[in-house]
Assembly symmetry: C2
Homo-oligomer: 192 residues x 2
DNA sequence: CCTAGAAGTCACCAACTGATGACATGGCCC
DNA sequence: GGGCCATGTCATCAGTTGGTGACTTCTAGG
């Protein structure tokens, strides 16, 4: 599927670990937990599959490690508060989905139905998404606002995953982006 | 998992087909395509697993049949246009998720990551969700409005699936419901 | 009552998965 | 240079899955 990430790597445990983690993250994001086999990850990382179980304990532990060492919501929270909606909407509706920013969403969406992965996702999506978002929002109804934001972000990603944007042309995507931005900004600072 | 749906059924092909379809729909909705085995469905339907392949051709064909014979968006489109937001938001945020109305969403969310099921989902979600919704909305920007509605509906369902509502209490859920209703109604008839 | 064929069951297959223990190999320190 | 241990590979296992063909059993029609 992918070219090897670290072409030169000679018996360097740390580098091998990283290569496995990166390969796993990409696989989990683009195919989901169930559809990703240890042999796939190993092949991408240029490593024998047995090594993964030895390094991480097993597939589930690898998945947890991928979640905890990966990107989180902080990226979206950086920057001007007033342009939050526009920044996020741009990513959700316009930017190509292969972006790394998407990986967290994709992993959650594509793996949430696997019982083995569900608990890790639930925990991580709370700790590395909801909680920071809620704190960033502040105020009494931060929890509800965070949920509303999450609904739109998740739903927009889900729709792109299912339909791969076949249904909307560039113009419509632009309109979608603007509408999403308004909704998001409203959830951030408007009346709930 | 579930009690047999048709306790008395003696060599009645049509009834057996229906029993299999119902069992499959529930399984696919609550566990997803990958996690559901033909043996699980057969067990729920009180039938031998071999019968499923013989009746439907295979798991993929069964899945397609479940989608096409199941509920669609029409249920949400019935009733007063002005109360659309409230009705849908009520379902999304308040009503128990075991409701049959949810099954279409759950099937899509929980099975979208399976390549075998993805194409059927894409097609069905277009034919039995987007298209009717777009027609119902009407107007030049119906496609964009349909997408916006879909984002919120999908996202809200996704969040409930992941977090099972642990994060919100009754009061917050009520606030969430009202906010969702406003957003949905705005997408239906407000300025996009 | 009896048989033909539908309805349902059983045993089994090949493919795949995650995992494990035995083995090979290369780099580092003395 | 030589041995040791971390690093990596190989063969293989047990479990599960979807699928298939041969078999049994029950019902309907004569």
């Amino acid at each position: 599927m992918s070219p090897p990430l670290s072409p030169v790597r000679t018996r360097n445990a740390a580098a091998t670990r990283t290569a496995i983690l990166e390969a796993a993250r990409r696989r989990f994001a683009h195919e989901g937990y169930d559809q990703t086999g240890l042999r796939d990850i190993a092949s991408d990382a240029g490593v024998d599959a047995a090594l993964i179980s030895r390094y991480f304990g097993g597939k589930e532990e690898l998945f947890e490690e991928v979640l905890t060492c990966g990107p989180n919501i902080a990226e979206f929270l950086d920057g001007d508060r007033d342009s939050f909606g526009e920044r996020v909407a741009q990513m959700l509706a316009v930017e190509p989905m292969r972006e790394e920013k998407f990986e967290l969403f994709l992993i959650m969406l594509r793996s949430a139905s696997s019982p083995k992965a569900a608990e890790a996702i639930r925990r991580h999506s709370h700790d590395a998404f909801y909680q920071p978002l809620e704190t960033w929002l502040g105020g009494d109804d931060a929890a509800v606002r965070a949920r509303l934001l999450s609904c739109v972000m998740m739903g927009a990603t889900m729709n792109r995953v299912i339909h791969e944007d076949y249904l909307l042309d560039g113009q419509q995507r632009q309109e979608l982006c603007e509408a999403l931005a308004r909704t998001l900004d409203n959830y951030v600072s408007g009346p709930v």
